[in-house]
Symmetry: D2
Subunit: 139 residues, 4 copies
């Protein structure tokens, strides 16, 4: 993978103020695979004290979007067209880890997935499975 | 609607620290219909400066969940099972307004919708359409 | 609406052999709104004797796709990119009626909905709610 | 896996008249994994001559539902609550093969996936990716 692509992903991520608001960081950038983590803290909790589904959704969506971005020319970026999430288990533990990947990169649309895990010590639990569509757009 | 139900919704919302983190507030609670708003500020933006899709998702999901909650006995709450969002337009303007409603309340599952609008002055634009499933659980 | 558009929709529908296989017919074509019906017969049933979800999906998807097609130039057609269905009630009765409509027609993507009803005598029950994306393609 | 479970799956499948209408057959039954095939013939085609999305959806949904069923007690069956499909490529070739599997089996809900492939000679292409929810119900 062209190192410029990883730079583009990092630079784009750094412009996402929302990601700073929830203390998310990008922890891996490979071709068609990107990982984003967020610590589970009280400030992102829902009414039962678990991490909010919107946070799992947010890092899953971003990880999947950046996975798509690694396959595009340097002068394009992506926007999410649609995303579906099935929530599988309460998001409890130390951190959430979203692994985004590309299922099919078409010319006009890129179908993506994300697996979001909650890590508590050594234990990792799949808490959300996401499937959606990214659209390449010119910068 | 029993005023205790509106109290339960408000009390549950107040325990969602994530909603405070993004400065969301609950602005209407009717039977099977709940509205949540969030000001569009730099702290919730994505890389292009629009409100992040995760915020639209978060308030839409919560508005839909609380719409479902208004139909349940006082000793139950809901969890999101799955949710799908189609993003229709960039989330720009003064605030996001999510209107959650119930499509079909079954005994075991409640199918819900949310319409999320971006309001800029007098102008309101539908930016996200959501469709999902809530599951009643005992408190 | 240009009468040529209705002709194009009918002509396209007539080429869908699958629609003949399940005895579906197109019963209304308006701008951004198309209706397709199918009689509920044993040949389209699932194991409990209800109409199969794939049939509700099929006519809902087609009604939504043709609703999108009514908004396009004469030399384009649409393909389904993605579709989500929530099943709300058993599909029992005399016929299924799918009403497809357009939520948002963008330049590159058209977001659509379909409501599928089961009609039994005078009674009509919403059995499926669908939300998806159509992509315009050149003929 | 208890051989009675495989019998239950086969017996249920044989009662799906719709599956006979489209000439589908069940070709593999393992714990949490079921495969269904259908020959691509003119009678299941859409307007461009490809297999109709409703057929891919139908066999994917059934394969996923039966995958869930293999994990349930003998006196239960499943109904589809919701299903989302992303269509990835035209369904052309000799046959469609749907591989359904279980992502997470909860007490009240079972999250499932299906991969649908179009096989043309030796070549197999992923044409649809599906993600949904099954609900166990008493017989």
């Amino acid at each position: 993978m062209d190192p410029k692509i990883a730079e583009k992903v990092k630079e784009s991520f750094s412009r996402q103020a929302y990601m700073r608001t929830i203390s998310a960081s990008i922890t891996q950038i490979d071709q068609a695979q990107v990982e984003i983590q967020v610590p589970i803290t009280p400030s992102i909790s829902q009414q039962q004290g678990f991490a909010h589904a919107a946070v799992a959704f947010g890092i899953g969506d971003s990880a999947a979007g950046y996975a798509a971005l690694t396959l595009l020319p340097i002068d394009q970026e992506v926007v999410t067209s649609e995303m579906k999430v099935n929530l599988l288990a309460p998001a409890v533990g130390d951190r959430l880890i979203a692994k985004g990947s590309v299922v099919k990169a078409g010319r006009r649309l890129i179908v993506v997935q994300a697996h979001v895990f909650a890590q508590a010590g050594e234990k990792s639990t799949l808490v959300a499975l996401m499937q959606g569509t990214m659209v390449p757009v010119d910068l």
